[in-house]
Amino acid sequence: MRRNFEDVLAGDELTVLVKGPLTTAHLMRWSAATENWHKIHYDLPFATGHDKLPGLLINGSLKQQFVAQFLKDWAGPDGWAWKIAFQFRAMNLAGERLELWARVTRLERAEAFGLVHLELGVRNGEGKESTPGSAVVALPYRDGPAVPYPFVPPVLPSAEAAGA
């Protein structure tokens, strides 16, 4: 469903996207889909014995796919998830359930569409944050056309916004 810029307020929280619990089979499926054979995602003796990890790790590459999906779906068919930034700060282990969350921090009007600035993250079932980040999503104005596709970055008055 189309989401318009006017429908969004600073402070709004996005509906959480839940992924998992993520089993070793989920991790193997992702490793196979990307032909990435890093053992810390499927070889428990290697992960715990050689690399001294507490268990098999959920791939950071998989977590960022979830972040991208979360923002893409929220942007809706006429919006565009333009910028996504995140830091891998903590591990998530096989068996954990991940919750993708985001909150609107700031709204900014460009000429042809609006920009929604968000803070976001990935927390596990115990509420521990692992992947804090931020994003900028372009949304159409209520009476305006869809955000251009392919996306063309707006010319903004503030240099701060351009670098956000």
Partner: protein, 171 residues
């Protein structure tokens, strides 16, 4: 400045040759990828509104489609009896020359991504990478290097799909 030697610093600004992924965007590969990330978006099958000009791949797909082409050495067999082999083939990561940092662990610190459009099924994708910056920081575990790699993913026609500015931690 224990780690950031003049030699390492000389890599800042170095670029890779533009480099095509060995396979074009394939429907089956997109399906497996979309199922693995559990994103049932009908756009990946070309269903629904045709805003994108046909079936597309998930947003970050171009950054994960660079694989070993036919004729590559089989590093799994080569390392079958190497107890320290972690399963990674770092040479397929960016096409950039390896930094002279033997023995230092590599951690993925995060990324800043800018998205412009999706790759369509059948399109070929190339990447160009650059060492944008290398700085040294002190951490609780000792000195570490923050290596910033910028990569642009484009179509054969030169249309930019996405740009990724990745932070690699070496320590």
């Amino acid at each position: 400045m224990a780690l950031l030697t003049d030699d390492v610093r000389s890599y800042i600004g170095r670029t890779s040759e533009p480099w095509f992924a060995c396979d074009a965007i394939e429907a089956g590969a997109v399906r497996r990828y979309a199922q693995a990330i559990m994103d049932p978006d009908p756009a990946y099958a070309g269903e629904g509104r045709d805003r994108f000009g046909g079936p597309v791949a998930p947003p970050l797909y171009p950054a994960f489609m660079f694989r070993l082409p036919f004729g590559s050495p089989d590093y799994l067999t080569e390392n079958a009896e190497n107890p320290d082999f972690d399963g990674l083939a770092t040479s397929v990561s960016s096409g950039l020359p390896e930094l002279p940092l033997p023995g230092l662990a590599l951690l993925n610190g995060g990324a800043e991504i800018e998205l412009f459009r999706y790759a369509r099924h059948g399109e070929r994708v190339l990447q160009k990478s650059r060492y944008a910056d290398i700085t040294e920081r002190q951490s609780k575990a000792g000195p570490m290097l923050l290596v910033i790699v910028e990569t642009t993913y484009e179509t054969e026609a030169g249309e930019v799909l996405l740009k990724v500015r990745k932070t690699l931690i070496r320590r």
